[in-house]
């Protein structure tokens, strides 16, 4: 061990989950005789400041040894923040079974793994099973496509009693970006070609998707299902509205579900996790899960020590305790553990397995090309929500799509790709 062992811990919602992991890390380091310096990463301003901190620290030769987080890996790797950890990933897969294709797609590039899968996280569509039941609706069937989901939302809306079906915003936020991207992908919109060199965004599919979004938020036919001010929501708003019991369908990270369980919200057991609607053309489910990863920071002189800690953190006893603490929210990162009762007895956890291990992987925004920093930059920006806002304000959709395609081309070029 060289100097202090410096570790950054991501805070997940569940306080018990955080406390347990911190205890495990502290205990392990203590038994190893390491001088541990551990700190939480703030969830306050997203990953931008964390990246700035780490880039600064790495460039100044003052980096922490390791950390875990669920951030997009590509940008961090492109900034030279990570050490490859392929050896321990292969070792772990050999011991615990395959990890998710989603993990692979988001963490393995340039022939190296840049993070070790730590624990999966549920995330996607959440609905109120009790309200669906009241109206005689089946969440899985009646939300199978975005059209069906919209119709269902309208049916279950009761504005007079402050109950609205459609808890999805397209305002500037992480959730808003998802809520624009996902319908577009279902309409067949593609950001790039299969080589990841050219932008292919300007297409009839993209235009059709945006028309659908415009219709949803501006056609009076759907007004009844929209909570007032839905397009002023930021990332916290749908959590707040869902937990207050005013919306019945939303799309979110599992934090909201975990919060409901932890706070013993009266309808917590009625919160159902379902796959997002399928693709219009072939009814194919496009979701794929990933989650938190363990990373070694570039320049760390304690890589072997980090590996020892990582091995402990993905060991069965630690993983089982994580599942017990946050059932249906934390998911096993490797295949073998999915057989455990700790997964199978919780419907939301069980429902996640087909999404963690889909028959055919769809890689989201990057599909069908590779994950590049340019794709990460576009996905992490506000382009999709800004585009939706312009459409909702009445600008011609074709013009908007053309304009944003040009922006994406410029970003591709900035990152050294052809663009067009």
């Amino acid at each position: 061990m060289t100097g202090k062992y410096q570790f950054i811990q991501n805070q997940d919602f569940h306080p018990d989950h955080n406390a347990f992991l911190r205890g495990e890390i502290q205990e392990f380091c203590k038994t190893q005789g390491w001088n541990l310096d551990i700190s939480y990463a703030s969830g306050f301003t997203g990953s931008g400041d964390l990246l700035t901190t780490l880039v600064g620290a790495v460039q100044a030769g003052n980096a922490p040894d390791a950390f875990f987080h669920d951030i997009g890996v590509r940008n961090f790797q492109a900034q030279g923040v990570f050490e490859p950890v392929s050896d321990i990933v292969k070792e772990s897969i050999g011991k615990y079974g395959a990890t998710y294709p989603g993990y692979e797609a988001s963490t393995l590039f340039d022939n190296e793994w840049w993070g070790l899968p730590f624990y999966g996280r549920a995330g996607g569509a959440y609905v109120r099973a009790d309200i669906f039941k009241k109206f005689g609706l089946d969440p899985l069937k009646d939300c199978a496509t975005y059209d069906k989901m919209r119709e269902t939302a309208l049916k279950i809306s009761d504005p007079d009693n402050k109950s609205w079906g459609w808890g999805l915003t397209v305002n500037r936020s992480g959730d808003g970006t998802t809520n624009v991207q996902q319908p577009l992908l279902r309409f067949g919109s593609q950001l790039q070609d299969k080589d990841g060199q050219k932008v292919t965004f300007n297409s009839p599919e993209t235009i059709a998707g945006l028309k659908w979004i415009k219709e949803t938020y501006t056609d009076p036919k759907w007004a009844k299902m929209l909570p007032p001010g839905v397009n002023s929501w930021t990332d916290t708003s749908n959590n707040e509205a869902f937990l207050a019991g005013t919306i019945s369908i939303t799309d979110n990270a599992g934090t909201m579900y975990a919060k409901a369980v932890f706070d013993k919200v009266p309808f917590a057991d009625q919160i159902m996790f379902i796959p997002r609607p399928a693709r219009n053309s072939d009814n194919k489910v496009l979701d794929s899960l990933a989650g938190a990863r363990l990373h070694v920071v570039k320049g760390s002189k304690n890589k072997e020590a980090s590996y020892d800690l990582f091995r402990h953190l993905i060991s069965e006893p630690v993983q089982n305790q994580l599942l017990v603490t946050s059932p249906g929210y934390v998911l096993p990162p490797f295949k073998n553990a999915w057989k455990s009762d700790l997964v199978q007895k919780y419907p939301n956890a069980k429902n996640s397995e087909p999404l963690a291990y889909p028959a055919e992987l769809f890689t989201g925004l990057r599909h069908p090309g590779p994950l590049t920093p340019a794709v990460d930059a576009i996905g992490g920006g506000n382009y999709y929500t800004d585009m939706a806002a312009e459409v909702l304000q009445g600008k011609p959709i074709e013009d908007v799509v053309k304009d944003y395609t040009n922006r994406f081309i410029q970003i591709f070029k900035d990152f050294g790709l052809k663009g067009s």
Partner: protein, 728 residues
Amino acid sequence: MALESARGAPPSTRTTQRTGGFRAASKRLLGPDWAVAFVFAAPLVILLFGLIGWPLLQAVYLSFFRVVGVRNNGFAGLENYQRLWGDTQFREAVVHTVKFAVISVFFKFWVGLAAALMLHNIKRFRSVFTGLVLLPWIIPEVVAALTWRGLYDPVFGGINQLLLALGVITKGIAWTGDYNLALPAVILVNVWKGIPFFTLTLLAGLKGIDAELYDAAAVDGANSWQRFLNITLPGLRYVIIVACLLSLIFTLNAFGLIYLLTGGGPGGATRVFSILAYEVFNERRYSLATAVAMAIVPALLVLIVILGKYMRGDPGRLEAKESTLSRIGNWALLALITVISLAMLVSMLPLALLPVLLAAIVGVAFLVRGDRLGKTSGDVNMAWLRWTVILLGAGALSILVFSLPFFVVALALFAIVQGGLIDYLTSNFRRGQRQDATTLSTADYQRKLARVKRTARLSSLGIGVALGLLLLFELFPFYWVIVTALKTDTQIREFKSVFWPAPFSVENFRYMLQDTQFVRWFWNSTQVALVSCLVSVMVGALGAYALVRLKWRFAGFLSTAILFTYLLPGIIILIPLYQIFTNLKIINTLQVLMIAYPTFGLPFACWLLMGYYRAIPSELEEAAQIDGCNHFQAFFRVILPLTLPALLTVALFALTGAFNDFLFAYIFVRPESLTTLAVGLGKMVIGDIFPFGKMAAASIMMAVPVTAVYMLAQRFMVEGLTAGSVKG
């Protein structure tokens, strides 16, 4: 004038006795007090230029390359700037920034002035009321933003609930979700948070106006509006201009509040410069991000050179001669502005920006030719009228190609920063004074005075009502914070008992005190705040003394240059700063914050102290020197004790800044044992879940001691500001 005797005056016989040798040559070249001045100004120069100036130059350099992530794809020349000017989002950001800044400052100024007038005229509980009005300024930005988000919530927010209850609306309004309402909503919060700054500085200014002037004017038959127009406004001229300029600079660079309230949305409705730069920065397109940030530099430079002029002294009373080096500095600024302006023009600068461009050139011309313009001060300055006509012409052209609102705000900006309007108003008063010099009998005088006082009593009722409304506006969000802090998570989540916690709970306070490291965070922030206060006070006091009281060549240029710290959003210089602090081996210590925080408050501190120093008669210092004191002894034994109120004011400003900062504390200090309050609060936010109740409780616990200090110290603060702001 102290300033005139201190700077620019002919070298004294004492300093010219020796005409030969290095000493004499250096004194001729650098000024008689250069050696002492260098020592006094060194901490200021090292702190500001080492930590801000150097990274700033790096940023400028970066903007001419194609740096994306860790890759530098080569020299780009003006390409990054060219791309911006052709970009609709950038143009929108320009418009939003100008609208946001100008409208905010306009309302902050007028409401702040009204508040100051009201507070100035009340006799009882002035300290308490002033302390209450200051509250929005004290609480951290994150808490202010979250509070207003709660108030703006379209379904359950306090504002909609109130309006619904009053029957004003029938359906919740999406204040931050409507494309047309979002910017006004954000401006309102900025105004709310910024009023106290104006109130405090203007209150100090009012205190400096001779009360007999009002009595005399009243006796002369001036009504309250005329008295306001002819006494108050002219009396506040200097403080108005400096406060407006400072506020305009702060507001042009505003980031946190907007980011936390709307993130720049909906769409790009509230995307200002700093948000756009942050977005592009987060995409790791560093050169382009820097270009975005640098694009505002010409406008800021204009403001800064003018502010610098005012900080060095009232333009009307400036010394006749500028030193050669100051002229070189000013010409360098002119060259910089010209280069940037030409770059804009080359890259299809919209004609609508011409007014700003012209204002830049006028500003620098004003600097360079300040001696000539200075002679005309006090009357309507024909030069300004001439330039205004030229601007109107340029504006008319700009209307053709751009939009009327932009030109209007650009012109308003110009009018505010140049103070031409105030000059005009003051000239009326001066003419009036000359014309109305009449004699009154004592009896007439007493009669008229009594009538005026009767009117004043009647108007006190109006003052009370207006003050009540102002306090309602300023304090309603605090009511919301208190109510939120006393609710359980369930009550907050389900929006139960919206306006009153029933039952109320102290669980959030217990949680903060027992289950978090709140006390440690508070202690860390206190340490940082106290030491950074000390650094601000010491460095500011020494630096301001060197700039005002010592005779040396760089004083003029340096006075303006210290304001350069305002040129760039913090995010752009974080990485170079990180490396500097690492090399200094202070990263991950509280010392890094103790050194970094004063950099942002120093220009303001210098302004305050420079004004104060100017007000101290130079005879005191000269007497001390005759008694055998050197400059250092005279400073520490004579000058410093006289400036205690101003030093206290600087300390309190620094204290507030240190308690509020999130970004630097988060980036530069990792160990949890060293977490400060704002970062501690930030770390309570996990993912997309905000613990509103706990953050509200924490805010109250943070605000109470700081508010108490303000209430106790505000009398001294006003005194400190009075000399600095009014007697400049």
